[in-house]
Every structure is written in structure tokens, then in C-alpha cells.
């Protein structure tokens, strides 16, 4: 049993230059790549998410951790084979039509990637039809809708309705988020989940498909 605490500390401490070396050392010592990923990198990002929720880490610091996380994943990817990817969640994410805000949505995408999900980021101002098409194409099991403006919140409902009409509703869980969005609104428009920030969005997404 290898101890991955150093890898976790390195990621949480934003000491990214040391990470590749630590990963090679763990591999040399015979650790399974999947264990390095799950007990090292992903576990560290769980800590980062928690600290972000508590206000102890700022978003740019979280993003930095996420960046070093993906550097680590790149090292491990060729060694993981199928075991890392087959049962992962597949996420389609975008900002709804009429809304051009993307920072919050991008944060969610990054945190979900760091949590081990496959994320397809559509961008901003996405029509309901484009969301439906992407869910089909990506065989997504999670759809994330973002809105910052109170005036574009109704477009979330229209997008959910379009998913229902397309017959895909049973295959995909729908999450909504953005500054004015609340749990109550999510329930009202028939979404499956709401998350107030990027860290908890990633956590929620994982629990929706487990």
C-alpha cells in the first residue's frame, strides 16, 4: 500500500513543479495508476473543493490546483487503459441561450474534470436544440445549464422542456446553476439538482450518477 499523502499535499499546497516527480516515484514503487489517480489526485481535489467551499482557498488557487491535476492526469492517462474512463460520468455543459456569461460555468467544468468526469463544454448562448444535439452525440448522462441573468433563467426551463420532448429525459440528469438560481427554482423547472458553487457542483454530479 503506497502512501499518497505527499501527492495530495503537493496538489493542495499548489506546489505544482513537484507533482510529476512524485507521480513517477509512486509508479516506480509499484503503485497502480488508478490508485494514484483516485487516492492521490482526485482525493486532493476533494480537499481543494472543501477548502473553496469554506472560503479558505480562492478560485484562482483552485484553478491552479485543477491545472496541476490535469498535468498529473496526462501522465497517468496512457497507463490507465480503460479502467479510468469506462464508468466515468459524461457531462455536457453550457450557458443557456441569451446569456453570455461563462466564467462560473467554466469553473464548474474544470472542477468536474478534476473530479474525474468527462466534460464537453459547449460555451455560451446555447440554444435548447444545440443542447439536445450535444447530449445525443456525447451520450451524456449529465447536462449542466448555467445562467447569470434573471432574464435568461426562463431559458433554462425551455431547455429542460426540449430535453423532455426529445425523449432523452430518462437518460440524462439535469443540473442548473448560476448566481440567481436556487434549489427552489431547480425543482420548479423540473431539473434534478442545483449547486451553489463549482466545488459542490462536482460533488453533486458524481453522486447523481453513482
Amino acid at each position: 500500500m503506497t502512501d499518497f499523502s505527499e501527492i495530495r499535499e503537493c496538489l493542495v499546497g499548489l506546489d505544482d513543479s513537484r507533482l510529476p516527480g512524485l507521480i513517477s516515484r509512486a509508479l516506480d514503487a509499484g503503485a497502480a495508476p488508478a490508485d494514484i489517480l483516485n487516492q492521490g489526485l482526485i482525493a486532493a481535489m476533494d480537499i481543494v473543493g472543501e477548502r473553496m467551499e469554506n472560503g479558505e482557498m480562492f478560485i484562482p488557487e483552485v484553478l491552479m490546483a485543477a491545472q496541476s491535476m490535469s498535468t498529473g492526469v496526462d501522465i497517468l492517462k496512457p497507463l490507465l487503459g480503460d479502467e479510468g474512463g469506462s464508468d466515468r460520468g459524461r457531462v455536457v455543459i453550457g450557458t443557456v441561450q441569451g446569456d453570455l456569461h461563462d466564467i462560473g460555468k467554466n469553473l464548474v467544468a474544470m472542477m468536474m474534470e478534476s473530479a474525474g468526469l468527462a466534460v464537453h463544454n459547449l460555451g455560451v448562448d446555447i440554444t435548447p436544440e444545440a443542447f439536445v444535439a450535444a447530449v445525443k452525440e456525447q451520450d451524456a448522462n449529465i447536462l449542466c445549464l448555467s445562467a447569470l441573468l434573471t432574464t435568461t433563467m426562463p431559458m433554462m426551463k425551455q431547455t429542460v422542456d426540449a430535453i423532455v420532448e426529445s425523449g432523452l429525459r430518462d437518460k440524462v440528469k439535469i443540473m442548473v446553476g448560476g448566481a440567481p438560481v436556487t434549489q427552489g427554482f431547480a425543482e420548479e423547472i423540473g431539473a434534478d439538482a442545483f449547486a451553489p458553487d463549482a466545488g459542490s457542483a462536482a460533488k453533486q454530479a458524481k453522486s447523481l450518477i453513482s
Partner: protein, 484 residues
């Protein structure tokens, strides 16, 4: 983020001409009106007379000529360093360098468990000392409350002992009499290792309310002041007239009278022991005209305290004064805005040693644990203002503006990472900026409740700043009441 000792002076309520006018008025007051004294200060009056003052013993009136004042004031040090037990807590009092800490003498506390008002105890004094020790923006500890549960004869030694045990920051307090002062110096010398080491790094200092406004020397406090000065223990020359009752109602008149009182005090001290360290201690206050009690939270207190610093700076003596008081009875919105106003005004004024700035309510009558935490945040914000806005190549950030380019974002730029923990004020945790959902999930706590929770956590950290060996020696020598 260290926000202690930053240069204020950005706010100057008086023009240089007005400063000179008020200084001239104060000299005139001392020359023509003079000061009065009571039995017991004959030696002090004789000392002043020998130096050139006119003393009328029948009327107990002393008039001091301006050249004597100017010569005496010139001997007072321009810089006074009040030490902490650890040099990182040293206070470099000079120019417009700002330090803010607690103030003294409340007799009530909002009980942290029940919220009810009750009398303060020795244990309370220890608890608030522990809070002050751990709250970074509270720079020094002026004994904040009186242990009403012990005998008055044990006050002096036990108040200093309790503060020095619980906190590593500079400790200042008043004493009841000269004997009390001697005991306190002896105890502090035991902690320092010797009296010489204490004088070298004075981690205690004394407040003496030598003046009873208007223009009267308090016998007991003047004697204590002179005795501390003889021992080269730094003294704050406290005088606190209230505009409308013990000084003229107008701000300019209050400043002129108070400056005269301070000039008289500095003269007495420098005649007693030339070059001895002291703090100009003018605290311009206001009477609550509805009750004639002390009005703590008025915005004019912030204006006048900034102005009195200009007068102390004019004579080149570091100053001690007061801000961040409130007349509110609990840590409510009034406490927040009154404290924030006077705190930032006086900090921007450049006062060197601003006491009363943490923990107090009901003017100077009550303390509350949560208020220390909230005021730590207010002081931190006020001092952050003094840091100003840095404009240099690194802070202009042209390189990163260019590399990010139009339409990009700065969230992951290395430039962002290198300034993320230093460019903006870091909260002590009491300020809430969470989403409403999260805030509700955590119990919908207001600032007061959040502050109480922080205080509770801090008080769980136990620590004594007096070694066991010295503690035992002190207990063998004095009647120490706080359990070991």
C-alpha cells in the same frame, strides 16, 4: 498581512495655519490662565517655579511661560518604542505611524454564554487578554476591564500579571498609587530578568490621568506620572475633556484647552527627568448633551482625535488617543458604523497609539468577546486604507494585460497568483461573503454570532507567557489571585 505601524496622515482636518493658531492659543492659556493644583503637589509646583513658572500659592495657580514650555517639549523623545514580549509585537511610535489596540477600565461584560450584562471578573480579564493575543489587528493590550471580584488593594499587580500572562503584546494600564507602580515595575523586572532589561525593552507602560479638565493637575496621578518618568517607564499623559462640560463646546476650543493641558504635562515630565519617554495623551471627547455623560461614538470624536495628532506631531511627540468607541449597548449596526467611522478617520489622521479601539460597547462601560473579533476586522480594514494603492511596474501589470489579451481572463495568470494573498485585505473570518443558500445552511448566523464562534475557538487555545519558574517566584512575592 501585517498592517501595524503603517503611515497615516492622509486625513488632516486642520490646515497648517490652524495648527499654529491652536498651538499659539494653548501657549497663551498656560501663560495667562495657567493651571491649578491641590495639596500634595507642592514639590511639583516648586520644580516648575525654579524653572521659570509663576506660582501663586494662595490661588494654587501656576502660569508657565512659553519659552519654558518650548524648551521642555524639545527634550521629549520624538520616537518611543513600546515593546512586546516578542519583538514582532514592538510598536514604533513616531511620525504618522498608526497602531490600534484595546482601551481600559470597563466594569461590565456581555456574558459570552448568556448574552446578559454582568460584572467583569479576573477570569474575564484573562480571557480577553487571550483574545487580544491572537487577533492580529489588535496591536497592543491596554487592560480592557476591571476585575470587580477581587479586592481593590490587589488590583495593580493582578491586572498587570493577568495581562502579561495571557498576551505577548505590549501591556499598558493605570495604577492606583506609587506603591502599586513600584510593585508592578518589580514584577515586570522579574519577567524581563532585571530592571535594566525592562527599561531596555519596556513591555509595560503606564497611563496616568494627570489632568482633570479643565486645567487642573490631579495630585495622585501626577505623582505616579513623575515616578514612572523617574524610572524611565513610558507614560501616556492622559487627559480627556468632554466638549460641552469640561472643555468649551466648540471643537477648536476643546483642542486648544487640551493641547495646553498636554503641554503642561510634557513640561512637568521633562523637568522631572529630561529625555524620559512619554506619549502625548490628549483625548478630545464630547459630552452627551442629553445626559452629560461621555459620548463615545460621535463622528466628531474621529475628527478631533485626528486633529489632536496634528498638534502632537507639530511638537514632535508621539501620541496616544482614542477611537472606535460606540454608544451602542450590543454589537449591532450602530456599533458597526460608529466604530468604523472614527477608526478610519483617526487611522488616516496618523495617530500613533489609538486605544479603546477594540472590544468596547456602551461608550467605555462594557466589553464583549464578539466585539473584539468584529473590531479586529474594523481595525484591519482601517489600517488597510493606509497602505494605499501601489503603482509600479509590477502592480500596473501591463505585461499580464498584454499576455491575457482582449477577451481573456486573469484567473489563472501567474501574476494573479503572486498577488492573490497580499493585494487585498484578508478577513479574520467574521465577514460573510457566502451565497444565501450556504449562509442559510450554516444556520443564518449574523456577524455577532459568527464573531462569538470565532472567539470561542480562540479561547480554546491555552497559553501562558510567563514561565513556570518565574510564575512561582512572582507568586511567592505577590498575592497573585489567578489560579496557576
Amino acid at each position: 498581512m501585517n498592517l501595524m505601524g503603517l503611515q497615516g496622515g492622509q486625513y488632516q482636518p486642520l490646515t497648517q495655519d490652524q495648527v499654529k493658531t491652536i498651538h499659539g492659543a494653548a501657549l497663551q492659556i498656560l501663560e495667562t490662565t495657567g493651571i491649578t493644583y491641590e495639596t500634595g503637589l507642592e514639590a511639583t509646583a516648586n520644580m516648575l517655579e525654579a524653572a521659570g513658572a509663576r506660582v501663586n500659592r494662595d490661588e494654587k495657580r501656576i502660569c508657565i511661560p512659553r519659552d519654558l514650555i518650548e524648551a521642555s517639549v524639545a527634550k521629549a523623545p520624538e520616537q518611543v518604542v513600546l515593546c512586546g514580549r516578542d519583538p514582532k509585537n514592538d510598536l514604533n511610535l513616531t511620525e504618522n505611524r498608526v497602531h490600534m489596540g484595546t482601551g481600559g477600565g470597563t466594569i461590565k461584560i456581555l456574558d459570552p454564554d448568556t448574552g446578559e450584562v454582568r460584572a467583569t471578573t479576573l477570569q474575564d480579564l484573562h480571557d480577553v487578554s487571550r483574545l487580544v493575543d491572537q487577533l492580529d489587528n489588535i496591536h497592543f493590550l491596554v487592560r480592557p476591564c476591571i476585575p470587580t471580584d477581587i479586592d481593590e488593594k490587589d488590583y495593580d499587580i493582578n491586572m498587570f500579571y493577568t495581562c502579561l500572562r495571557g498576551s505577548g503584546k505590549h501591556v499598558m494600564s493605570g495604577v492606583n498609587d506609587e506603591a502599586g507602580l513600584h510593585k508592578v515595575i518589580e514584577m515586570a523586572s522579574m519577567i524581563a530578568g532585571s530592571k535594566e532589561k525592562l527599561q531596555e525593552r519596556p513591555f509595560i507602560s503606564v497611563i496616568t490621568s494627570f489632568a482633570i479638565s479643565p486645567l487642573k493637575l490631579c495630585t495622585q496621578s501626577t505623582l505616579i506620572m513623575q515616578e514612572a518618568i523617574r524610572n524611565r517607564i513610558p507614560v501616556a499623559l492622559s487627559s480627556a475633556p468632554m466638549a460641552g462640560s469640561t472643555s468649551p463646546l466648540t471643537m477648536a476650543g476643546t483642542l486648544a484647552q487640551l493641547h495646553a493641558e498636554e503641554l503642561a504635562g510634557v513640561t512637568i515630565c521633562q523637568l522631572t527627568n529630561p529625555g524620559a519617554p512619554l506619549l502625548y495623551g490628549g483625548i478630545p471627547g464630547m459630552a452627551n448633551l442629553a445626559t452629560m455623560g461621555y459620548c463615545g461614538g460621535a463622528v466628531e470624536c474621529g475628527m478631533m482625535n485626528a486633529a489632536i495628532h496634528q498638534l502632537s506631531e507639530y511638537i514632535k511627540v508621539p501620541n496616544y488617543n482614542s477611537s472606535c468607541l460606540s454608544d451602542a449597548k450590543l454589537p449591532d449596526a450602530q456599533a458597526g458604523y460608529e466604530k468604523a467611522f472614527t477608526a478610519v478617520l483617526n487611522a488616516m489622521g496618523g495617530s500613533n497609539y489609538i486605544h479603546h479601539a477594540a472590544g468596547m460597547l456602551e461608550s467605555m462601560l462594557a466589553v464583549a468577546h464578539e466585539q473584539f473579533v468584529i473590531d479586529d476586522e474594523i481595525i484591519g480594514n482601517a489600517c488597510k486604507v493606509l497602505k494605499g494603492i501601489e503603482v509600479d511596474e509590477e502592480h500596473l501589470a501591463l505585461e499580464v494585460i498584454d499576455s491575457v489579451g482582449p477577451g481573456g481572463n486573469f484567473m489563472t495568470a501567474p501574476h494573479t497568483m503572486s498577488h492573490i494573498r497580499s493585494e487585498y485585505y484578508n478577513s479574520n473570518g467574521v465577514t460573510d461573503r457566502k451565497s444565501r443558500d450556504r449562509w442559510e445552511a450554516e444556520g443564518s448566523l449574523d456577524a455577532r454570532q459568527r464573531a462569538l464562534n470565532i472567539a470561542k475557538k480562540l479561547l480554546a487555545n491555552q497559553k501562558s507567557y510567563i514561565t513556570e519558574e518565574v510564575d512561582q517566584a512572582i507568586r511567592d512575592r505577590f498575592n497573585i489571585i489567578l489560579p496557576a
